[in-house]
Every structure is written in C-alpha cells, then in structure tokens.
C-alpha cells in the first residue's frame, strides 16, 4: 500500500499482515542494524551477495552466524513500527493499494504484524508525542545545542544528538544521522528541549545560503558566442 504525502511511505503486506514499512521519515531495519554496530558493513555486504543464493538477506545473515533470527526479527519489527509512526506523523495526501507486489523489502518481519495491533501502537505513539511537555514536529523543527551546556555531562546518546544538531537538521534528519528510530529520537529531543540542552534553530541557522556574486551565465554565454571562430 503506497501512501503519498510528506513524508509518505510504502506498507508491504503479505497475507493481510504488514511485513515491512519503507518511509523517508524513518531509518530502515538495515540502517538500524548497521548503525547500532550489531552488523558490520562488511558482513552486510557479504550477506547481500549471499542472499542471492540463500533466498533472503535475513537467511544469509543468520547463515553466516552474524546474528540470530530472533534479533533480526526484533530490528525488523522496530523498523515496521517506526515506519508506521513516521508515515502517520507526516501529511497523508492519498493511499493506493498496488495490485502488483512492489520491491521486496530487504528485511521483512517473518509472519508480519497484524494491522490492528500496528494501528493501535501507532495511535499510542502519536498520542505520546502529542502530549509531550515540549511539542516537536519531527519534519519541521530544526534543533541546535543551547549555549552553556557541557557535553561531558550528557549521556553518550545525548552527546551524539547534540553533535548532529547543526540547526540545519530536522528531528527526522538527526534520527537518520545518528541511525536510530524516529520515535525515540523525537521523544528524546523533546525532553532535551525541555531541559534546555537543545533549542529550536533560528531560520538563519536552518538555511545557509551563499553565492559568489556570479552575475554571469548570460555574460559568459555571450563571451563564448563572441569568441567563436567564424
């Protein structure tokens, strides 16, 4: 099922259950696996090669002894729940059920997730984000470190968020930069805003336009025309 919108996404369904959700709003299971350090880049690349024969990336990873099936499932399940939250937290323009199966997701949840339980979990997360003490829009709000906070007193996870909070990045961008799911990062950033560790970036920090006073496309075109041998 294709959801058009900002950010939108694709729900992959098998036999009525959701096996994967791809959304530009939330890191995929693959990203979570790699950035958590649970699977190394080299093992992942090798698993992709082996998956052609093994039938699936999951089978290839497990077959290589890199990770157990239960753990892969946990990552894939986290990605499905986060993907559903990411789609629901954005604007939904339209939904379309594709008759043809689309691209096969790299790490589907075996057996899938019942749509009812996914809906309930997504509604719970939307409520939780809506009732945060400091409301945060994951796709609109850009954050910067507040002045006067010593990074040394922060937890490692918070230090990483602060490091990537350049003011150009939205909450969603920070989640991708740190390689963690959108929902926990949204909750964490809201808390950090409340505690004065982060603040909402000014438009001057969010966009950094610069130009070299080039006046010139046309002028150079004319020069080229003039310089052309007759």
């Amino acid at each position: 099922m294709r959801v058009a919108g900002n950010v939108g996404g694709v729900f992959h369904l098998r036999d009525g259950a959701v096996v994967a959700v791809d959304s530009p709003g939330s890191p995929a299971a693959e990203t979570l696996l790699l950035s958590s350090g649970r699977v190394g880049a080299r093992d992942w690349a090798a698993a992709l090669v082996a998956s052609v024969e093994a039938g699936s990336v999951q089978a290839a990873l497990v077959g290589r002894g890199v990770i157990g099936p239960a753990e892969v499932r946990a990552f894939a399940l986290a990605a499905v729940r986060d993907g559903a939250f990411a789609v629901a937290a954005g604007e939904v323009e339209s939904c379309e059920v594709a008759a043809e199966p689309g691209d096969v997701p790299a790490l589907p949840v075996a057996g899938g997730v019942e749509p009812e339980s996914l809906l309930a979990e997504t509604a719970r997360r939307l409520d939780a984000v809506a009732s945060l003490p400091v409301p945060v829009a994951p796709y609109r709000d850009r954050v910067v470190p507040a002045g006067g906070v010593d990074p040394a007193v922060l937890t490692a996870e918070r230090r990483e968020v602060v490091f990537h909070a350049t003011g150009r990045r939205t909450v969603r961008d920070v989640a991708f930069a740190v390689g963690r799911s959108l929902y926990p990062v949204t909750v964490e950033i809201s808390r950090m805003l409340g505690e004065g560790v982060l603040e909402i970036a000014s438009p001057r920090d969010s966009f950094t336009f610069s130009h070299g006073d080039l006046t010139a496309l046309r002028a150079r075109a004319e020069m080229r025309e003039a310089g052309r041998p007759v």
């Binding site: 959304s23 990203t31 961008d173 966009f207 950094t208 080039l214 496309l217």
Partner: protein, 122 residues
C-alpha cells in the same frame, strides 16, 4: 541575477522532500552560483564533481542513444548525490541521506528546474 528567487526554490526543495540535506546550483562548467550546504560540504567541490559527472552522463546518453538526460544519481551506502541539468548552461545538485525518496525528489525537482532555468536565463 535574482538570488532571492533561487533561495526560495532551494529552500522549498529542502522543506518539501525529506532526506535532502544540501543543495547547490552551479554553472555547467562547475562554478557555483548559489548553495545551501552544511559546513562540512564545500560547494566548489560539489559543483566541480557534479559538472564533470553530468558531462560524462550527457555524453553517455548521446553515444548510447538513451534519449535526453534527466538526472544522474550516485548511490552510496550512506546517501545520494542527484544532479539535474538546468538547460545546457547550468545544473542543480541535491545531496540526500539514506532516507531520501528519489522518486519524490524527481517529482518535486522537475517544476523547480523549469523555474530555476527561467530565473537563470530570463
């Protein structure tokens, strides 16, 4: 040159397409015209690479007979660099993270490129 109009286009692109991290408009010889990039990104380098890449891609479409060139995309394990021709004289670069939806980017870029082309060569 109407830089404010270019600013509006680049701003809109980054706001409307999740995953776009940096944007540059450059002349097709690789000289940057305007950029909106992170501190770690040098617009001069990106412009030069994009111009070279687009030149090769354009040659390839002509030599192989692939029709007209619409975009080139570099796929990395951590993100993307998409380059669009803006007429024959200039180009637009969009850098994106792993979550970038390339389909959405192309969809939003087409009208933007039309307008940018008009702004650059009124």
């Amino acid at each position: 040159m109407d830089y404010d109009a270019l600013v509006a286009e680049l701003r809109q692109l980054r706001e409307n397409v999740a995953g776009v991290t940096d944007t540059v408009i450059a002349a097709s010889d690789g000289i940057p015209i305007i950029s909106d990039v992170a501190k770690s990104v040098d617009p001069a380098h990106i412009s030069a690479l994009a111009a070279a890449g687009l030149g090769i891609a354009r040659q390839a479409t002509e030599v192989i007979g692939l029709g007209s060139l619409s975009q080139t995309v570099v796929f990395g394990s951590k993100g993307y660099m998409a380059v669009y021709a803006v007429g024959r004289m200039s180009l637009m670069v969009a850098l994106g993270d792993k979550g970038l939806n390339l389909g959405r980017l192309l969809h939003e870029s087409r009208p933007a490129i039309e307008r940018i082309g008009t702004i650059l060569a009124p």
